[in-house]
C-alpha cells in the first residue's frame, strides 16, 4: 500500500502549494487592486484607514486650501478647507464615504503611498514618525481664482456658469471656478450621517452644485467658435484679415428652405465686409459663408487641433465621480449643418476649458499647450519631489503669422466691436463674445473668451454663463461674461 500513499503525499503537497500560491496571489499581486478605493469603493478597511491618516496639504502658492488637523475622535485627523466654496471643485472633498477632486485624483500622493514618496516613507518609518503624506502644489493663481469666484458670485447664488484661466505659454491653469458651488467642510465631517446627508442634499439639488462645469458641462460655444472658423480660414491661405466676405442680412442655407440670419436680424454693415469686421460684429452670415467655403472637414481638423473630440489630455481632476465632457465637432455634417457649425451652433459643443484652450492656443503663436493643474509634488517638509513640466498638445494649430493676425482681429473686437466691456486701460486685450442659442424656450448662453496682453499673452480666459437671475435680454457675452474675464485678466496682470 506504500506506493499509493507516496502518490497521495505528492498530491497533498500539490494541494498545499496551490493554497500558498493562491494566498500569495491574493495578498501580493491582487492586493493593490483590492485595496484601491477606485476599484472597490465598498472596502471599509481602506476607507477607515484612509480617513484616519494625516494627509498632505493641497497648496495654492503658499496657502493651503486643504489640510489635516488633529482631532480627538476615532478618525484622528480632520480635513479642513480654509477657503470653503471658493476651491470646492478643485480641492474636492474628503469624506469616509467618498471623495472627489484633487483629494481623489492625487490620493496616493496625499496619503504618501505614491512610489515617488517611498524614500520619505522609509525615513519616517526608520525615524519612528507617523508616515506623512506628500503635498500637492497647484498651478492656480490665488488672485485670479478669487476674481473668478467673486465675479460669478456677484451674479447670484443660483447662477450656473464657469470660468477657466490658462497661462498660454505653459498650459498652467490659473483659475477654475464653477457655480453654483458647495462647502466641502460639511462633507468632511467625522459624523458620517452628517457627511452623507450633506452629500445627498447636494446630489438632490436641481442645479447640480457638485458638477464642475468648467470640465463637465458641454454646451454650444456660439460665436466664440468663430475664432476656430477664422483660424481655419487664415490657415487655408485663401483668407486674410482684409479679405472681403459676404456681410448681408441673410445666407441661403443650401438644401433647405431656411436662411441663416444675424443676431441683429439686419446686415453686418454691407454686402461685402472684411473678415476682421465680420469678427468685430460677430457676423453670422459672413462666418456661415466662410464655413461653407472651407467645408466641414477643414473646420473639424482645425477644431481637433485645438483639442476638440479628445478627452484624455486633462486628467488632473479625474476621479470616479467626475465625468469629464469631451468637446465635440460632429463627424457627419451636411452643408446646412456646416454653416451652422461654423458659428458654433448645430451639434458643436465645447467645455469652458476647451474654449480657454482655443484662446490660449491663439495667444501662444498657434502652439496649444496641454492644460494642467498639478504644478509640483512636494514631500511633507516641502522638498520638491516631482516638478511637472509643461507639455505641448498641438505644436502648430495655426501658423504663428496666422495666429498674430487672428490676435489682431480679436483686439479689434475688444477695441471696436462686441467685446468693449473687456477693455483694460493700458493693455491690449484680445477677445471674442458669444451668445449661443439653445432652445427658443430658454435663455441663450453667454460666452466670452479672451487673452491679454495681445502679444506675449500671460493669461487666456473663457467665461460661460449658462443662466443667471437676470432678464433674458440682459444675457449676452459682452454684458455678463466679459466683465468677469476682464477682472480675472486684471488679477493676473496687475497683481
Amino acid at each position: 500500500m506504500n506506493r499509493p500513499i507516496r502518490n497521495l503525499a505528492i498530491a497533498c503537497m500539490a494541494m498545499f502549494l496551490a493554497l500558498m500560491a493562491n494566498a500569495t496571489y491574493l495578498q501580493y499581486w491582487q492586493a493593490d487592486s483590492l485595496n484601491s478605493l477606485t476599484e472597490h469603493d465598498n472596502n471599509t478597511r481602506v476607507k477607515d484607514a484612509t480617513f484616519s491618516e494625516p494627509r498632505g496639504q493641497i497648496l495654492v502658492g503658499k496657502k493651503a486650501i486643504a489640510l489635516s488637523k488633529k482631532s480627538n475622535d476615532r478618525f484622528k485627523y480632520q480635513r479642513v478647507y480654509p477657503f470653503g466654496a471658493e476651491y470646492a471643485h478643485i480641492a474636492g472633498y474628503f469624506s469616509r464615504s467618498r471623495f472627489g477632486g484633487i483629494e481623489s485624483s492625487q490620493n496616493n500622493i496625499l496619503t504618501g503611498d505614491a512610489p515617488g514618496l517611498f524614500v520619505n516613507r522609509v525615513i519616517d518609518l526608520l525615524g519612528n514618525q507617523a508616515p506623512q503624506g506628500g503635498n500637492v502644489v497647484l498651478t492656480l493663481n490665488a488672485k485670479a481664482q478669487k476674481a473668478a469666484y467673486e465675479g460669478l458670485k456677484a451674479l447670484g447664488n443660483n447662477t450656473r456658469g464657469a470660468v477657466v484661466a490658462i497661462e498660454p505659454a505653459t498650459g498652467r491653469i490659473l483659475a477654475m471656478v464653477s457655480s453654483p458651488t458647495f462647502n466641502p467642510t460639511r462633507m468632511a465631517n467625522h459624523d458620517i450621517s452628517i457627511s452623507d446627508k450633506a452629500y445627498d442634499r447636494l446630489l438632490a439639488d436641481k442645479l447640480i452644485p457638485l458638477n464642475n462645469r468648467a470640465i463637465e458641462e458641454r454646451l454650444p460655444p456660439g460665436s466664440t467658435f468663430k475664432l476656430v472658423t477664422a483660424a481655419a480660414a487664415l490657415s487655408s491661405g485663401k483668407y486674410n484679415p482684409d479679405t472681403l466676405v459676404p456681410g448681408g442680412a441673410s445666407l441661403d442655407l443650401p438644401q433647405t428652405s431656411k436662411d441663416l440670419v444675424n443676431e441683429s436680424r439686419g446686415s453686418c454693415g454691407g454686402n461685402k465686409i472684411t473678415l476682421t469686421r465680420a469678427l468685430e460684429v460677430s457676423c453670422n452670415v459672413a462666418f456661415g459663408a466662410v464655413g461653407l467655403k472651407l467645408g466641414a472637414d477643414a473646420l473639424r481638423e482645425q477644431a481637433e487641433k485645438f483639442g476638440f473630440n479628445k478627452r484624455d489630455f486633462f486628467t488632473d481632476l479625474d476621479d470616479p465621480l467626475t465625468s469629464q465632457a469631451t468637446s465635440e465637432f460632429p463627424q457627419d455634417v451636411d452643408a446646412p449643418q456646416t454653416a451652422l457649425s461654423a458659428i458654433g451652433q448645430a451639434s458643436v459643443t465645447a467645455t469652458p476649458l476647451q474654449m480657454a484652450m482655443v484662446a490660449a492656443g491663439i495667444a501662444n503663436n498657434g502652439r496649444v499647450m496641454t492644460p494642467y493643474l498639478v504644478d509640483e509634488i512636494r514631500s511633507a517638509d516641502l522638498d520638491v519631489i516631482k516638478p511637472i513640466e509643461p507639455k505641448v498638445l498641438t505644436p502648430q494649430a495655426i501658423t504663428p503669422s496666422a495666429a498674430s493676425k487672428l490676435a489682431e482681429m480679436m483686439v479689434a473686437v475688444v477695441d471696436n466691436g462686441t467685446g468693449r466691456t473687456a477693455q483694460i486701460p493700458g493693455i491690449k486685450v484680445a477677445g471674442k463674445t458669444g451668445t449661443a442659442q439653445s432652445l427658443p424656450s430658454r435663455p441663450p448662453y453667454a460666452w466670452f473668451v479672451s487673452f491679454a496682453p495681445s502679444v506675449n499673452a500671460r493669461v487666456a480666459v473663457a467665461v460661460l454663463i449658462q443662466d443667471a437671475n437676470v432678464d433674458r435680454d440682459a444675457i449676452s457675452g459682452s454684458g455678463l461674461a466679459a466683465p468677469i474675464a476682464k477682472s480675472v485678466m486684471e488679477a493676473v496682470l496687475n497683481p
Binding site: 498545499f16 500558498m20 491574493l26 501580493y28 491582487q30 492586493a31 478597511r45
Partner: protein
C-alpha cells in the same frame, strides 16, 4: 576481485532477524523544545492582541498562559508515559495552531464587542473545549494501548457514524444554523455530530477495506491504461456516494459531503492500489456535484459567488470581506489587534484564515499552511512506516481528512474553489471540531508510536522453542 561483481546475497536466515535496520529514536526532548516554541507562539499572540487592541499586555496573561502551558505539558507527559516513540512533531504543530486560534478568536471577540457591547465572547468557551479535547487526547492514549483493537469496532463505528450523521435530522434536537442542518442541541449544549462521525468513518472504512481489499482490487476491464473494477464491486462506493449526496441534499452541507466522499475514495485507492477507483470516484463526484448544482439552490449560489464575488447580486459579501481583509494584511499583516477582522461575518469560525491573513499577513498564512502541510505529511509518513494494514489505512484516512478539510476551507475562503462551510482544524472556533481533531491526533500518535517502536526482538531460542516463543518488548 572485480569491483563490479555483485556481492553474494546473504542466504536467507531461517530465523527471523530484525525487521528493519533503522531504529527510530524517541525524540521526546526535541518535542519538548518544539512545544516551548509553540507556547511562545500561542501566549505571545495573546499578549500581542492585548497590546494591539488596548496598548497593554492583558492582565490575565498569567492565568491564560498557565492554563495553556498546563494542557500542553499534560499532553507531552502523557506521550512520554504512554507513547514514547510517537512522532515528535505532531503535538507541537497542533499546540501552535490551537494557541494561535485561541488568540485570534479572542481578538475577534474584542473587535465585535467594540461594535456590539452585548456580543457573546467565544474565546473562553473555546479554551474549555480545548481542555476537553486534551482530556480526550490523554484518555485515548492511556486507554487505547494498540490501535489494532479498533479493528474490532469496524461495523459498530460505521453504524455509530451513520446514526450521528442522521441525528441532526431528528426533529426536536436538530437545528438549522446558517442554512445547514448539521447541528444538534441538547439543552444548553450544541454539537456538530458530523465532526465525530468523521473519525468513526475512518475507522469503519479502514476495517472494512482491510478485509475486502483483495476482492476490490480484482482487475476488471482495462480501459486506456487504467484498470477499472468490476460492476459487482461498485456496491460500497455507490453506498458512500449516496450517503454523501444525502448529506448535501438533506443537510445542505456541501463541505462535509465532499470531505466524506473524498476520504472514502482515497482510502479505497490506497487499500486496492488501483487508480481506476479514483477515475470512477472522480466521475461520480462530478455527477454528484452537477446534480447538486441543478437541484439544491445553495450549491449554485456558492458557485456564482465564487465566479463573480463582486457582483452585488451574487451573495459574495462574506468572501469579498475576507479578500479585502487578506489584501489589507498584505505581505506582513497589520499586526495582531490592528486590523479589522471583525468586519468579515463569522470571522472566528470559517473565516479565521482571512482574519489571520489580515493581521499576520501572507507570511503568517504561509506559515500556517506549512504547519498543516507538515501535519499531513507526518500522518502519511506514519502510514508509510506502519507495519499493519489497518494502521496504515487509519493513518492515511486521518491524514487525508486534514488535507481535504484544510484545502476545502482555506481554498474556499481565499477564492481558489467555491466556498463550502467547514472548520479550519484547530484554529476555528467550534467545540465539536476541536475535540474531534484532538482525538485524531491522539490516534495518529498511537499509530506512530506503534510504527516507530523498535520491532520485537526474538530471544535466543531456548530449549522449549518449539512450543512457545518468548518475545521481549522494548
Amino acid at each position: 576481485m572485480s569491483r563490479t561483481s555483485p556481492t553474494p546475497t546473504r542466504p536467507r536466515d531461517p530465523r527471523p532477524g530484525p525487521l528493519m535496520e533503522f531504529v527510530h529514536r524517541r525524540r521526546r526532548g526535541a518535542e519538548l523544545f518544539l512545544l516551548i516554541l509553540s507556547l511562545v507562539v500561542g501566549i505571545g499572540a495573546y499578549a500581542a492582541v492585548g497590546l494591539g487592541v488596548d496598548g497593554s499586555v492583558p492582565a490575565d496573561i498569567y492565568k491564560y498562559g498557565g492554563w495553556l502551558t498546563a494542557l500542553i505539558v499534560a499532553a507531552h507527559l502523557t506521550i512520554r508515559w504512554k507513547a514514547a516513540y510517537a512522532d515528535p512533531i505532531l503535538l507541537p504543530i497542533v499546540a501552535a495552531l490551537n494557541g494561535l486560534g485561541l488568540a485570534m478568536i479572542h481578538r475577534i471577540d474584542l473587535g465585535m464587542q467594540a461594535k456590539k457591547p452585548d456580543y457573546q465572547a467565544l474565546a473562553s468557551s473555546q479554551l474549555i473545549w480545548m481542555t476537553l479535547g486534551v482530556a480526550l487526547f490523554i484518555g485515548v492514549l492511556v486507554l487505547l494501548r494498540d490501535h489494532r483493537r479498533l479493528q474490532a469496532f469496524t461495523y459498530t463505528s460505521g453504524l455509530a457514524a451513520l446514526v450521528l450523521l442522521l441525528l441532526p435530522m431528528v426533529p426536536g434536537i436538530g437545528r438549522n444554523i446558517r442554512g445547514a442542518r448539521i447541528w444538534i442541541h441538547l439543552g444548553p449544549l450544541s454539537f456538530q455530530p458530523g465532526e465525530v462521525a468523521k473519525v468513526l468513518l475512518v475507522i469503519a472504512f479502514a476495517g472494512y477495506l482491510v478485509l475486502y481489499r483483495d476482492a476490490l482490487a480484482l482487475a476488471g476491464r482495462r480501459v486506456l491504461f487504467v484498470d477499472l473494477p468490476r460492476g459487482r464491486d461498485l456496491g460500497p462506493i455507490l453506498a458512500m456516494w449516496l450517503i454523501s449526496l444525502g448529506i448535501l441534499v438533506f443537510q445542505n452541507d456541501l463541505g462535509s459531503s465532499l470531505l466524506f466522499f473524498g476520504m472514502f475514495l482515497v482510502m479505497l485507492y490506497v487499500a486496492t492500489e488501483r487508480p481506476g477507483w479514483l477515475v470512477i470516484g472522480g466521475l461520480m463526484f462530478i455527477a454528484g456535484a452537477y446534480f447538486g448544482y441543478l437541484t439544491t439552490g445553495h450549491v449554485k449560489v456558492r458557485v456564482e459567488a465564487w465566479l463573480d464575488p463582486f457582483n452585488p447580486d451574487n451573495n459574495g459579501y462574506q468572501i469579498v470581506q475576507g479578500m479585502f481583509g487578506m489584501a489589507w494584511g498584505g505581505l506582513t499583516g497589520r499586526g495582531l489587534g490592528l486590523g479589522s477582522p471583525q468586519d468579515t461575518p463569522i470571522a472566528s469560525s470559517d473565516f479565521i484564515i482571512p482574519a489571520l491573513g489580515e493581521e499576520l499577513g501572507l507570511t503568517g498564512v504561509i506559515a500556517i499552511i506549512l504547519l498543516y502541510g507538515l501535519l499531513v505529511e507526518r500522518a502519511l509518513r506514519t502510514a508509510l512506516i506502519c507495519r499493519d494494514n489497518f494502521g496504515k489505512l487509519v493513518a492515511t484516512g486521518l491524514g487525508v481528512v486534514f488535507a481535504l478539510q484544510v484545502f476545502v476551507v482555506i481554498g474556499g475562503v481565499t477564492k481558489l474553489i467555491p466556498l463550502t462551510g467547514l472548520t479550519t482544524p484547530f484554529l476555528s472556533q467550534g467545540g465539536s471540531s476541536l475535540v474531534a481533531n484532538w482525538v485524531i491526533i491522539a490516534l495518529l500518535l498511537r499509530i506512530s508510536d506503534q510504527a516507530r517502536r523498535p520491532p520485537p526482538e526474538f530471544l535466543e531460542p531456548g530449549e522449549d522453542m518449539d512450543s512457545t516463543q518468548v518475545v521481549s518488548m522494548r
